[in-house]
């Protein structure tokens, strides 16, 4: 549910920002000229029929003040408030952090939070010989056990990638050994042309 609300709020934000940008562009374009013809603001107002809109809104607000509006208006107003609240929830509330489930049985579940697990993997991998820096991505499965840990180990051009790979794999054994559902993928990386390692 929270994912749906987040997606919806992102979509609404995108649409509204695009509309705002287009409105700003139109206002800027129609500010070039003057008078009531061509690229002028009165001309833009005429194009958008703002006078008619003002009249319609005025009538509506007058009815709202006088209490002569029908029940449908009240219903739509309440719905608008509800939708706004849901969008606010979608924007403000972050989904629960996914955890890496290492085991799940009748005896209970063993899990670890994603971020500290990634930090621990990075710290261990960076201790391997020849590794200058690491980039770790922990990807728990959406449902079920285990997941994948991708480790990119940056090393100098002089270091042997195979040795770096073996060193990183060995250093991670102390953390994720015995987890059959957990796959660790290491990737030695020199960082490409122009990259520097310290």
């Amino acid at each position: 549910m929270i994912y749906l609300l987040r997606a919806l709020s992102h979509l609404v934000a995108f649409v509204l920002l695009t509309a705002l940008a287009l409105a700003g562009l139109a206002a800027a374009l129609f500010s070039i000229g003057s008078g009531s013809e061509g690229l002028s603001l009165p001309s833009l107002a005429n194009l958008l029929r703002l006078s008619g809109l003002e009249q319609a809104v005025g009538t509506f607000l007058g009815g709202l003040e006088g209490g002569s509006l029908r029940n449908e208006t009240l219903l739509f107003g309440a719905l608008a408030v509800l939708v706004s609240l849901l969008l606010l929830v979608g924007v403000l509330r972050s989904p629960a952090e996914r955890t890496m489930v290492l085991a799940n049985s009748r005896a209970g579940r063993i899990a670890a939070r994603r971020r500290p697990l990634g930090q621990a993997v990075a710290a261990l991998a960076s201790r391997a010989r020849g590794v200058a820096a690491t980039k770790v991505r922990v990807k728990p499965k959406r449902r079920g056990l285990g997941g994948r840990i991708d480790v990119a180990a940056m090393h100098s051009r002089r270091a042997d990638p195979k040795e770096v790979d073996a060193g990183v794999t060995e250093s991670l054994k102390s953390l994720v050994d015995e987890s059959r559902r957990l796959k660790v993928r290491t990737r030695p990386d020199t960082g490409g042309a122009g990259a520097r390692t310290e």
Partner: protein
């Protein structure tokens, strides 16, 4: 573990099985080598309240059949986590059995909320005894 005494003098009633299980579970878990601390989230939670006490780092929830599910929220060292969790479970089950509450104990879930660097080797200068093990740089428990 932190136990907050009640504000007012508590009734003389003994703690419930739920609170006893929570105490036993977290005390046993903290004795296992590799477990550093119970996890204390900044906004609360991960705790069991009852009988005027507040046991943090463990949640104990009643399940059908008169048993209690135990959830441990721990800060651990960088060690093989499944093996550590099994040791924690064994220790908790042993303590609960000795306390005569084995029939009330349900599944024990272990969640590692944070991992800290291993103890410094003897070659390195030791840290002050009062300071807790430092978390990884940049980590902040949400």
């Amino acid at each position: 573990m932190r136990e907050n005494p009640p504000q007012a003098p508590a009734a003389e009633a003994p703690p419930s099985d739920r609170v006893l299980l929570a105490r036993l579970a977290i005390e046993s878990a903290l004795k296992v080598d590799g477990v550093v601390d119970p996890h204390l989230p900044p906004v609360g939670g991960h705790s069991t309240r009852g009988a005027g006490v507040h046991v943090e780092g463990v949640t104990v929830n009643a399940s059908p059949g008169g048993i209690y599910d135990v959830g441990l929220h721990l800060v651990a060292r960088v060690v093989p986590l499944p093996a550590l969790a099994e040791r924690v479970r064994d220790r908790v089950e042993g303590a609960v059995r000795r306390a005569g509450l084995a029939e009330r104990l349900g599944p024990i879930s272990v969640r590692f909320e944070d991992l800290v660097e291993p103890r410094p080797s003897p070659v390195e200068p030791p840290e002050p005894a009062s300071s807790p093990p430092a978390p990884f740089p940049g980590h902040r428990s949400p």
